[in-house]
């Protein structure tokens, strides 16, 4: 496609080979077995999978935070796996991340103001601090936080407010691509709704491409255009949400969808699909 922003080809990630205490080589476990994925400009893509599926590793590899064993990640025409740290730097501003747990991703010893101003200065989006502060005020208004939040510390905020700071920190840099890894999994449903709604509005306003990693297919369906289903380090199904949810082709996708408990009474739900027990006891 002509308007692809991020393209990963045959991406393989293995843990580094290590030696056991007895000097024997341990087998390097492979986390991603040759993943192909395209994310278009302004496109929102959900990446779903259960624990151990490799979805977080895939996200990190897309941002260049994990060095792939094989394969390539091309961002807007340049292969980021081939670039050294220095040449990658200009791309850093354009690829941002919103973290799962804002409590551990926001420095508790820095004020929210400092957390938001520093990257703006670092990437040269403002020449002087007052200009940076003006940008910060603008983004706080947009994400629904009062301006005096700049003087607060992360531990003084609620979970929903902290996640808004996480979103503000990512989008204030005017990125083209944002990776959001399980950003609402710790939030109450009413707070989750607000955060997701905000993210959905921002992606369309700013024409942001979004990779939204989640274990929750209902959340993905509500904010993503396309979905990638992962299982054991492989993509088992991929397509527009509408098609995948209406007629999944992979058995695993079917299994995942059938396992979502909807808030409606359905007496047959518990026993349905009883034959599909997951094998293995480890």
């Amino acid at each position: 496609m002509a308007d692809d922003l991020l393209v990963a080809r045959r991406l393989v990630v293995s843990y580094a080979q290590s030696r056991s205490r007895f000097g024997r080589n341990k087998v390097a476990p492979t986390v991603l077995h040759g993943i192909d994925i395209n994310i278009g400009k302004g496109e929102t893509v959900g990446i779903v999978g259960e624990s151990g599926s490799g979805k977080t590793t895939l996200g990190r590899a897309l941002l260049g935070l994990v060095k792939p064993t094989a394969g390539s990640v091309v961002f807007d025409g340049s292969d980021i796996t081939a670039l050294d740290e220095f040449s990658r730097r200009p791309l850093r501003r354009r690829m941002q991340m919103i973290f799962q747990d804002p409590m551990s991703s926001l420095n508790p010893r820095h004020t929210i103001g400092r957390i938001l101003i520093e990257p703006i200065m670092l990437h040269g989006l403002a020449a002087r601090r007052p200009e940076a502060l003006a940008l910060v005020h603008g983004i706080l208004d947009r994400v629904g936080l009062i301006r005096s939040t700049v003087g607060r510390y992360s531990y003084e905020l609620s979970g929903g407010q902290r996640q808004r700071v996480g979103i503000a920190r990512a989008v204030v840099l005017q990125p083209d691509f944002v990776l959001a890894d399980e950003i609402v999994s710790g939030l109450d449903v009413s707070t989750q709704a607000q955060v997701l709604r905000l993210l959905k509005e921002l992606t369309s306003e700013m024409h942001l491409a979004l990779a939204f990693i989640s274990h929750d297919l209902s959340v993905i369906r509500s904010i993503c255009q396309r979905v990638v289903v992962m299982h054991d380090g492989r993509v088992v199904e991929e397509g527009p949400c509408e098609r995948v949810f209406a007629s999944p082709t992979a058995d695993y996708t079917r299994l995942l969808i059938d396992a979502i408990p909807l808030p409606t009474v359905d007496p047959g739900w518990l026993t349905r699909g009883a034959s599909v027990e997951v094998a293995g006891t480890a």
């Binding site: 009413s190 709704a193 709604r197 929750d216 209902s218 959340v219 909807l262 808030p263 518990l270 006891t281």
Partner: protein
């Protein structure tokens, strides 16, 4: 209706950390024989506090200020510690939230599972071991002998939760308290665990108090629901009534905020400000009425 197995009446509690802030506001609920009763709410609703109050494990800064907890007619709150201890495990068991911290990492599964059977059921070591093996088979663990000889870290989260469920139901208690038992699990594993709890419960006629933040989960496993907010019961009824025709605006708001894959155009509705204001007013009015009562009494 027969007498309920568990009956909580006007239970109130405060947290002394911020000047006796109320955390349970005159909560009443009843769990019938063989019934799964769901307690749902967001964080701070007091749902786990209820579970802790029943088990007598309230943190030291929390204090019960009034009300009753009756288990088969016995008032648990006035029971001496050894009386409660005799009931716990034998008649009342807990399935905890986080299967990774609930098991002792330094002891084999086999020895942890047989503790209750020996202490509460008086089985010999050999009998307890055989019983534990049967229990593991009941929760569909394929190699029970291997699992009995494992340490907790050698098992997956879903397996650990199966072990804990087997241990809880294994003493054939009359009441199981399940505190967010599937929150830490993947959805496919969650479904298996829910199925397991329901089938064990039906098989033994156990009553279950099921605490959860997830409306979808309680919809699938509970017969009746209690919806809570800031320690106050807002709505109670059959699962069908509460979810299909919610009466309280807060229940409606929770349902409207929940994303649903089958209805992509609905969900994610923010709670209307007037609902939030009405909730605050409801809580404030309740606190004021309590205050007036204590002054007159």
């Amino acid at each position: 209706m027969n007498a309920p197995r568990l009956s909580i009446e006007a239970l109130s509690a405060v947290s002394s950390r911020d000047g006796d802030r109320p955390i349970l506001r005159s909560v009443s609920l009843a769990v019938g024989v063989g019934e799964v009763h769901g307690v749902v709410g967001e964080s701070g609703a007091g749902k786990s506090t209820i579970a802790k109050a029943i088990l007598g494990i309230m943190p030291s800064q929390m204090r019960i200020t009034g009300g009753l907890i009756e288990f088969e007619g016995v008032d648990l709150l006035s029971l001496p510690a050894n009386g409660l201890r005799a009931l716990l495990g034998r008649d009342i068991a807990l399935v905890p939230q986080d299967p990774s911290t609930a098991l002792n990492p330094a002891r084999l599964i086999g020895s942890q599972m047989t503790d209750g059977l020996r202490l509460k059921r008086g089985l010999s070591a050999r009998e307890a071991r055989l019983r534990a093996r049967v229990l593991l088979e009941e929760v569909q663990i394929r190699e029970p002998d291997r699992v009995l000889n494992c340490y907790p870290h050698q098992l997956s989260g879903g397996m650990r939760q199966r072990v804990l469920i087997a241990a809880a139901f294994g003493l054939e208690p009359k009441l199981v308290i399940a505190d967010e038992p599937t929150t830490a699990l993947d959805v496919t594993v969650q479904k298996q665990i829910l199925r397991l709890i329901r089938s064990l419960q039906e098989c033994h006629g156990t009553s279950v108090l099921f605490v959860s933040h997830d409306l979808g989960v309680v919809a699938k496993i509970c017969d009746r629901l209690t919806v809570m907010y800031m320690g106050k019961v807002l709505e109670q009824g059959s699962t069908m009534d509460v979810l299909a025709t919610p009466k309280h605006a807060y229940t409606k708001a929770l349902l409207a905020a929940s994303p649903r894959y089958d209805r992509p155009d609905t969900g994610l509705e923010p709670t209307p400000p007037q609902v939030v204001a009405a909730l605050r007013a409801e809580i404030a009015a309740f606190d004021a009425s309590q205050m007036a009562e204590t002054q007159h009494g």
